[in-house]
Amino acid sequence: MKVSDTRVCVLVIEGTNCEEESYLCFKRLGARPEKVHLKQLTGTDVTSDERRSLSDYQLLVLPGGFSAGDYVRAGAIFAARLRSRLSKDLTEFVREGKPILGICNGFQILVETGLLPAMSGTMSDVPEAVLGTNDSARFECRPTLLKNVNNGNCVFTSRIPIGKISHIPSAHAEGKLMFPVDRAKGIVKELEENDQIVFKYVDSDGRLAGYPWCPNGSTDNIAGVCNRDGNVFGMMPHPERVFFRFTHPDWTRSPDGAGDGRAVFESVLAYISKKM
């Protein structure tokens, strides 16, 4: 499928706020993105013109923000709405190999929905992980360095060399990835074996480091994970905010050109062109 035919569904509800940047990333790369309200997919209170079906799209994006005010837990309400009305559509979407991207709040939603880490199967009945309150108990808005540790499973990082450190900003209060305390070590090992860990927070030498390099205290410094098949991917930092080099914090000292986040979007579009 040509990139110009690739339809991207950027899904919004009340409180999402990064849909414009996410939409523009795909627009600028020549794809056909569309901002779609959840009601358009469920068919609630919409005209027939506005009605959309998830199966019409090749890529689903859950953008960042504070969906439904982050009530109950970050992403929990959006996840509950997805599970109640679109469970089957989502499962089919993933099983067909179509990619889903969750950024920041989108990652929280994917975890609450059970689509990530999805250690066994496509969507778990109950969440297998959680993105909990940062160790600092504060909203952390800061540049972060992410090392690509994925060995090729994730379809969103194929254009990023293994070991490369990308400069991608974080902005969240609940980004600490946690697993059940008594089984955390085993789960991390299994994620490694399945090649499901994608990005880790590192210092400027590429070493795993504590705060503020890791803004939240995440297990094993994990910043992003994918499912077993590599087509569902969630990350806390915001690649859509560094599409261009001039939005990097050190832009005055860098040459013009692509920002570090751009490769995430290029990678997934390349995957769709090749596979669909």
Binding site: P127, G132, V181, D182
Partner: protein, 79 residues
């Protein structure tokens, strides 16, 4: 009409940055001898039906939305 009070607490061993920060602030305000402050979330669910039925439904609400089993314990009290 029954009111179910759902208490969502953090499991043992899960960090509680909100509780820890509250403790620090209380100490700065001059309160001494505090051993620990734990943050807890409470929901009140008002609904009709027999107590046993309400209990069952609210239990389901906890597993489906109100608590995340990875870090939360919950308890339900019917009032």
């Amino acid at each position: 009409m029954a009111v179910a009070e759902v208490r969502v607490t953090l499991k043992k061993g899960v960090a509680d940055p909100e509780g820890r920060n509250t403790l620090k602030a209380l100490e700065l305000l001059g309160f001494e001898g505090i051993r620990e402050v734990r943050s807890v979330k409470v929901f009140e669910v008002e609904m009709g039906g027999r107590k046993t039925e309400v209990m069952k439904r609210v239990e389901e609400m906890c597993t489906k939305l109100l608590a995340n089993p990875v870090i939360h314990n919950y308890s339900i009290a019917i009032k």
